[in-house]
Point group: C2
Chain length 446, copies 2
């Protein structure tokens, strides 16, 4: 009889993705210290959800089908049967993209996915064929894209993100360096608005430069922007709405604007694909083929609920999120105000503490003058009752050792006030204990 | 400015999976000949579905949560928020597996997936790490598993399926041949009951032999059996219920027993995984990590609907499917009766036509004395008004050139009667036209 167990080292390397281990550590901390105030979770605030409404959302979508001439049998099948792999609500999504974002694409350029995560995985799988194809990502970077890349054995090339976001010159240098190594930069993944994890937003000028660069260097931009419509004020236009050369694949999520439980996202991929015989199609069709091997199609019930919500708002998710945008915006202002008050300018400089000032989204980042690792996090939870995320989790090839991510999406204003006080005590004590001789040394920037 | 289009040959090879092209061709035929009777689709009959019931299913699951002490906030989050990656209805699935299948596993050995397709993809990704790891499959084989393998660049080793199913000696020979080539057979994918595409069911004896072989040769069996509970009469026990050595990963689907639109399936993976430091976990935990990079979690609404249906039947999906099993069983008997009457013994022998006699499931296969390809299918649809699936679609490395698959799941008895008459005319004409000098030659078996 052969061994009756499996060796972990013989399983696929993606299960040992360091981001998974660190996220598991973070979840463990959260579980062990339930009374701690947590600046860690990136989940949306759920106080505006109402269970009873879910039935109305689904009903509204079914009524819409009936009003549009679908027979009772077709409506029954729209709920119960296998659906089209490309999805059932592409028209509603296209309508919404035009109204919300001025993204003008036909429904045929859209594939509905099981959340944005599946959209990432499918798009990467379609575009990356050779071991020499590389994906450029910001460093720090959202763990969803690095996980999907590792799952597919796709090589990552990190590009340092500056305080004002990715710089075109840095991206160009990375592309050329990879080419010089004989590799082929295929795409750059970018979260242009209120980025996870750093909270940074790209300027309109930077977006224009990135689009020019993409055309010049023949790479695609994979745009993922889940926080735009839940942020206060006017947003910079999406890369896709500025895209004149079909250089942008827009990866869409309804997890923040509608609700995560639907597991409905999408990809817009209107790039032309040319076959050897000269026949053409769209990239979305190839992504859809890959979806047929991953999930076959997206849950009809999730699509019905999202469809019903889009119908109720006439496609304007911005209208649905007036209250949530204000909520998150107020929370962001609250934490910035608390930080300003808790660390006056003098102390800030003396300690070597600083943070950025995002105009929206869920996250901001803070430099601290000591090493931030899992044991520091454990001390913070145990002794100070406050949890946050080490930024080192988000660096594909190391970095962020002196930086933390703070999320505001899941906390009340009083929790934010209390949490910042706890955080300040932790930072002061840690600074005093760790670097007594260098109170004013400059931290490495995250 | 660089090229403003993508070259198909530079995209990932899985988009050129021949099964996809052929399925697209089949879909095109179905679309172009809407009046034809189609023995092609493998989708479940939908006459028993009722749209209004969907609201009751979801409501029942939410009531269940309330009865089990969940607060209104927890119930709200169970619908709207990100859910646990391993799923929300594992206890209900474990209870159902015990009652339906005598599969006795703890809920912690289960991960809920977006249909069985995601369960396949995740399991393959976890188990296959090296380019030398190979997956054994029957030939012919379900296209879902071959597609998932191609997506992950996993090599397939086909094992010829005989009239009575996979034979242990054939599997063993394939394993040893692969080892001799320096490769590592990791798992065998098997549909033991009323297989898609061949309709074959493995005997109890063959199952015992496969389990012994798996232990002896240190490979896993990936068991996928969606048709058991929708087939009439007593079924042979599942491999998983007979598994004493944790050699079986059971891949579950609710698409045939409940409804496909939920997109809810699962994997049971209670294999022990040992890390270098001696710590242990279950394979399901590693599969769950991979799921976090593919779909994050399965739609809460899909899980709620499935959960509500399981609750209503006290976990016994067999009870839900008394009527459907009879429906499919009657359809299978009807096609066999029509074939027997249409092709009397003498003509059958003279023509060289034969078919198998599945006791359940959706499919049977038929040998014909001429080459079955896309142009034959087009003639059949155009001139005879009948559609079927060339079995060559299901052979990973060629085969089945003289064989067709007939599906009975989506047809009424009168359509079956009429469809068999049309098919007989096609077969007789095709035989007369194609092989006039060899009317009694023996076809190659599928």
């Amino acid at each position: 009889m052969a061994a009756d167990h499996l060796l972990k080292e013989e399983l696929h390397a993606s299960i040992s993705d360091p981001a998974l281990d660190t996220m598991n550590f973070l979840n463990g901390i959260t579980h062990r210290y339930p009374e701690a105030i947590s600046f860690a979770p990136g989940r949306p605030y759920d106080g505006f959800f109402d269970v009873e409404e879910i039935f109305g959302h689904i009903r509204r979508y079914l009524d819409h089908l009936a009003e549009n001439g679908h027979s009772p049998g077709e409506i029954r099948d729209a709920v119960f049967q296998y659906g089209p792999t490309h999805g059932q609500i592409r028209e509603l999504i296209a309508d919404s993209l035009l109204k919300d974002e001025n993204i003008d694409v036909p429904p045929e350029a859209i594939v509905v996915t099981v959340g944005c995560q599946e959209a990432m995985l499918l798009t990467l799988r379609a575009l990356f064929a050779s071991r020499d194809d590389v994906l450029l990502v910001a460093s720090p970077c959202y763990v969803g894209i690095t996980g999907a890349a590792r799952l597919l054995d796709i090589e990552l090339t990190p590009v340092e993100e500056r305080a004002d976001g990715l710089r075109c010159a840095d991206v160009q240098a990375a592309i050329r360096a990879e080419r010089a190594r004989g590799r082929r930069p295929r795409a750059l993944y970018v979260v242009p608005d209120h980025s996870n994890p750093s909270g940074v937003t790209l300027s309109l000028e930077a977006r224009g430069e990135l689009l020019e660069l993409a055309a010049r260097e023949d790479v695609l931009l994979l745009e993922d922007s889940p926080y735009r419509m839940v942020s206060p004020g006017r947003q910079v236009p999406t890369l896709k709405s500025l895209d004149r050369d079909r250089r942008v694949v827009h990866l869409g999520s309804y997890s923040k604007t509608l609700f995560p439980g639907a597991r409905v996202g999408f990809a817009v991929a209107d790039q032309v694909v040319v076959d050897r015989d000269g026949s053409t199609g769209l990239l979305v069709d190839e992504i859809t083929k890959i979806k047929s091997m991953v999930t076959v199609n997206t849950s009809a019930l999730g699509q019905a609920a999202v469809g019903g919500m889009l119908l109720a708002a006439d496609g304007r998710t911005a209208d649905i999120n007036v209250e949530t945008s204000r909520y998150y915006g107020d929370a962001m202002q609250a934490i910035l105000r608390e930080l300003d008050e808790t660390f006056p300018e003098d102390e800030r400089t003396a300690l070597g503490v600083r943070w950025n000032r995002p105009t929206g989204g869920f996250f901001l980042t803070m430099d601290v003058p000591f090493r931030v690792d899992n044991s520091a996090l454990e001390r913070s939870a145990e002794d100070y009752g406050v949890i946050w995320t080490p930024m080192s989790y988000f660096y594909p090839q190391g970095g962020g050792a002196n930086c933390i991510r703070l999320s505001i999406s899941y906390l009340s204003q009083s929790e934010i006030t209390d949490g910042v006080k706890r955080l300040a005590r932790f930072i002061r004590d840690e600074t005093a204990a760790r670097v007594p001789s260098q109170p004013t040394r400059k931290p490495t920037s995250c």
